[in-house]
Assembly symmetry: C2
Homo-oligomer: 312 residues x 2
């Protein structure tokens, strides 16, 4: 084994590994520097600014040649700047795709069939008192539009096909190998579907892609499921539409200003709210550790990275 | 059109149609007698005893030749007695199968991924205060054992295959055309699975089919989903195992003593509770009306019934 000093240097800006059983595998291969090991001004600077990897932060880390993320989304990374500097960026690839897709389907069934509402109803002891609980709406056969048919969207489609849902999608480009109807824009997608599921990434083009026009097109029985990013939706407008009954319901794992969730939603029975947990299970968390370490091993031995972000 | 008196007689023991838009179609074809139209002693007798169709009740209705049910389960019908008297019995056939299967999958995702728990957590305003919400367990790839691979169980299997779950089942007989592993008994099924989903009917053989031995075989990470009947499970034993952590979780739409739900369950975050609503949505309710009326039309014109119960 190499001595500690010969091991490649990894700066861990967040504690890693999160799972103790990966500790030995990690520390036997890499010398880790924590943020607190850095010079005090640099540590303080990073602490304040570390919500995004900006040009400013890259300027502080001149030897940086690879960034390994614990998330899939890249909205907080200045990719142009990374490209210019020849820095490789690895995201989590498809590690979370199945879990996010499972969660999206769970949210959808929950909203349509009122499962969380039913659970509250039973726990509050209302069943023997009030009797009949309101009927839900059927999932099987519903028309579902997927916004962004990438790795997660494709997993959602695969699952919902087994419920005999009619799938269509919008994305930057039509995907030739996909059997689902393609819409060039999200308004047309909304007009022709009962449900919209957001699985696309957040970027300048997709910021507030779900706006008043789209919500109106989806209609008063329509349901929105968001497992992407909060800012894909004009949240204020969606909350207004939910409160005023201009839309049928929503299943939301993400919000514009997390961990803050608009309190108007707490009173509604046609919404299901989750604290940004679609991506993670015990199983995917363990897979994430494997992937992160494998990416680092590959990087330091000049092998191809496992989940590298391709620059445009 | 036939005059009112010439129309065939239908005794509606529960109000029907439930959906007003079916009223004309129904009353144009049949003369309905409500329970309150019967002689007072007969009405009072039926009111007290009408939790089941017993020999006693059949004795009161000597002209009865067809029973049309609004449910799938037959545990409350004396089928031997109906057979003896040449009474045809129609249940709801497969009208509810898709909805029940959707709900079963919804309950399973909800339990594994803690969706109702997450919803409570967010609504209680705990996300900004407590921060991290506990991780759930992955659905994709789980081993799922189905107890009773009839119409509902088959729909569940079809859906969960799309989540890459590994499906096996137990039922009275091995089904030659089915690609899933078959277990001759539920203990072996439980030993070899992460999840049990109960979709079988309740009868003498299946009463308390999920007992202490089965729960122990399923193990402390195991999950039980019940969309069949409450008495399929020894509820007292299941509650004890849930409270003491001897089983991983449960999603329950049915209970032994509805509408009463054991209050110990109200405190648990690894259970999801629903008020016997897996069967019904707006859509299936409408389909049910179509089916009931079509069965009556068929009966009175001597055509084959659409969803007749076959006697052994």
């Amino acid at each position: 084994m190499a001595t500690k000093l010969e091991l490649p240097l990894v700066l861990t800006l967040r504690p890693f590994p999160f799972i103790p059983s990966f500790q030995a595998k990690f520390s036997n291969q890499f010398t880790t520097i924590k943020r607190s090991d850095l010079s005090l001004p640099l540590n303080e600077f990073l602490e304040k600014r570390l919500t995004a990897i900006t040009k400013e932060i890259l300027n502080c880390l001149p030897s940086l040649s690879c960034i390994v993320l614990t998330c899939t989304g890249l909205d907080h990374i200045d990719l142009d700047e990374c490209k210019k500097r020849g820095i490789s960026v690895c995201n989590t690839g498809t590690v979370y795709s199945e879990d996010v897709a499972d969660f999206a389907v769970g949210l959808l069934i929950d909203v349509l069939r009122r499962i969380s509402h039913a659970d509250r109803y039973v726990r509050a002891g209302l069943w023997p008192v009030k009797g009949e609980f309101p009927l839900g709406s059927k999932l099987s056969g519903k028309r579902v539009g997927i916004v962004g048919l990438g790795s997660i969207g494709s997993e959602v489609a695969k699952r919902l096909k087994a419920f005999d849902c009619i799938i269509s999608y919008t994305s930057r480009n039509k995907k030739p190998s996909v059997p689902f109807s393609y819409y060039t824009n999200v308004v047309d997608l909304a007009s022709n579907n009962d449900v919209l599921i957001l699985t696309c990434e957040l970027n300048k083009e997709t910021f507030h892609i779900i706006n008043k026009e789209v919500i109106t097109a989806l209609g008063e029985k329509g349901v929105i499921i968001n497992v992407g990013r909060g800012a894909l939706i004009d949240e204020k407008e969606m909350v207004r539409c939910l409160v005023q009954g201009e839309i049928g319901g929503a299943g939301l794992d993400v919000f514009e200003n997390e961990p803050h969730v608009p309190e108007e939603l707490f009173e509604l029975d046609n919404v299901v709210l989750a604290p940004h947990k679609a991506v993670l299970t015990h199983e995917s968390f363990s897979d994430l550790h494997e992937l992160l370490i494998s990416n680092l091993e590959a990087f330091f031995s000049n092998k191809p990275l496992l989940s590298v972000v391709k620059y445009d």
